[in-house]
Assembly symmetry: C2
Homo-oligomer: 400 residues x 2
């Protein structure tokens, strides 16, 4: 069977190549479309006749197909986890962790990053065309769950010809998808790395998401989700994103980065942002509309809030008897997904008899730490993957 | 000089009186208007020709005028701190702390609660009529500061014939006003009780306020502040208030109060709030417009963000040599005004040689604790006030 492999189309040359020497170079997002008979049944009972999933791959699949790692992204992430898109100087969102010689070493492993169902970066979501109406779904898009996202990813993994993944890994919402893989398809994974995540959202986490949703829905341009073709609810999405960014940082990291530094507006009006921290939030809030669909924000945050790894029965009962290894990582200053939530995952795994390692990294970066604490994460993940991979019989040969 | 005294107009009778036996009964908000020659000069350089301040008083001023306590409120508070307004079953915002036999014992002390400049509950603010245009100020209202609020309160205290206050006390923004009294008019106070407050806002505190302001200003009805007479930016204010409420509670108190309990909507639509915590936020958000002016929210939050008790020179230098006693109270689970910010106040007071007591109450209520931890606060404040009041020579006689 034909297997999708890394699309390293080009390499950067000259000076840039020196700086980027551990980069994957130019990569391309791929997409695969599934139309299961009768459509894809969602956990909420609705069906999607056709689902497209965007993904990228890096490195090469070995002949035994035992070196595949699935990377899962957070709320605002996408399939572009590493390398550079042609013409862009901005690498993928986890480039520091994925590439030759990095934590997810593309010289050893075949790394896949899958976008989520409900997203807006190449996968089926509320901005996609509803085949029943030939118009964008908008709010007619069915409610989706973290489980639905993972069910789609299983299609992708099978499409890529992989029977068993060496590892599934991700932070934040990516970590929830890891937990869903672990509880639904334990026979399909050798190991799992949930980072800075939770078995379920606390009321505080639900509350922050709800305020973001309300900000979007309060925008006069939202129009009950029917804004496609007209102006988008950009200001509402911006407010939602600003709230998000506050929760991603910590009190300490904000103090270090901004303090009470002021920025001088050229023509200050009343309530023109005049602190650096305000400027930072505005920058990220205002730019978010360029890359994210407000309706996707609604559907995905609701999937996050509704996720409960122990909903049907306690996770330790679900996990009993599985032989996947688990590495759980949390960060001390993360107050959005506090370490106690990771310890709850540890407890469930240990009770289930799953071989579990836990590390609480002493970072001041808050929730953003899962993107920034590269050195510590690299150390932990490199050794963990090596141990898991050593258990696989491999010839050292690759398909291509 | 005529002195304003408690307006205990009525007492509740029958069964209700039994329940409310420690209540002040019915009280009324008063107002005083000042028109200093040349107008009131604000710290920003602008002037207000006339300023009205709403206030309430409880208890009786003694003949020596040594038993007066000024209570200062938080962002969304008002002059109605205790007792009941006629026809209302909802007591003032600090009724648990102010009244006969309570922490601020109205049988011993004359308690004043002053609304703030910029507010919307009877004091001059952006919704007031601008004498220059005969229309509401809106955004033509001058930028105000915590210092301006306190300068107005000095007018009120002088109007009430009080030369020296026994105490100034308040939580959150009220605590900032206490700090401003302490640094500006130390000769006018015998003691100060700043609760759950800060010398200045951290970038995280600024960030939360800025998101609230943006939510208001993103509302199509805001119209650059010129919404008076038309629909108000209610949804924007609601989002701002919802953010506020998340920061007032703690992760633990939300968990205890709501968990992941769901509420069933009668006709659930997509994104109808379906968790209890969402319902709580909506209730408080949606009701806020009934009692608060969105422009006041902008002006007051900006005054909070701009406050810096050490702006001109370090607070310990400002406070050196003053003989007021200070009691500082913080709460362990308060993450909006974390205890370390109170310890910074303690440090400044100690360095200045001010007699300072500090207590960090072990509460799970978060920032709301200053309104809820009545028993602990009562114990601390009762003893503190007693000690301060013992230093005053009094005959035990009252003016009225």
């Amino acid at each position: 069977m034909a297997v999708q492999v890394a699309r390293v189309l080009d390499v950067l040359d000259g000076e840039e190549a020196m700086v980027q020497k551990k980069s994957l170079g130019i990569v391309e997002t791929q997409a695969v479309t599934f139309s299961p008979p009768g459509g894809l049944l969602l956990e909420g009972g609705e069906r999607l006749s056709t689902v497209t999933l965007a993904y990228e791959t890096y490195g090469r699949l070995n002949r035994e197909k035992t070196n595949a790692i699935l990377i899962l992204h957070a709320l605002s992430g996408d399939a572009h986890a590493a390398g550079f898109h042609k013409g862009s100087k901005k690498p993928g969102w986890w480039d520091a962790m994925i590439g030759p010689g990095k934590a997810f070493d593309t010289e050893k492993y075949f790394v896949i990053c899958s976008n989520v169902l409900g997203g807006c970066k190449g996968s089926t979501g509320p901005a996609s065309i509803n085949p029943a109406t030939s118009k964008p779904y908008g709010l007619d898009f069915p409610m989706i769950s973290i489980g639905d996202m993972v069910n789609c990813q299983l299609h992708l993994v099978e499409y890529l010809g992989i029977d068993k993944l060496l590892c599934v890994a991700g932070g934040s919402m990516g970590g929830m998808q890891v937990l869903a893989w672990l509880s639904r398809f334990p026979e399909r994974i050798r190991s799992a790395i949930p980072i800075a995540t939770a078995l379920k959202h606390s009321p505080q986490q639900i509350a922050f998401n709800e305020v973001g949703r309300q900000a979007i829905m309060a925008d006069v341009h939202w129009k009950s989700g029917n804004y496609y073709g007209g102006p988008a609810p950009a200001r509402g999405l911006s407010v939602a994103r600003m709230i998000g960014h506050i929760t991603y940082m910590s009190d300490a990291s904000m103090e270090e980065k901004f303090g009470r530094q002021r920025k001088e507006a050229i023509k200050p009006l009343k309530f023109t942002p005049n602190y650096e921290v305000e400027g930072y939030l505005h920058y990220h809030g205002d730019n978010f509309i360029k890359r994210f669909d407000p309706n996707s924000y609604l559907f995905i945050t609701k999937a996050l809030d509704n996720f409960d790894a122990s909903a049907s029965r306690p996770l330790h009962q679900v996990l009993r008897g599985i032989d996947a290894r688990v590495l759980i990582i949390a960060f001390k200053s993360d107050w959005l997904y506090p370490a106690y939530q990771s310890r709850e995952i540890v407890r469930a795994c240990k009770l289930a008899g799953v071989e579990t390692s836990y590390c609480e990294i002493d970072s001041t970066y808050g929730h953003d730490a899962f993107l920034l604490e590269v050195e510590e994460e690299t150390y932990l993940i490199t050794h963990f993957l090596k141990k898991v991979f050593n258990g696989c019989e491999v010839t050292g040969e690759y398909e291509i």
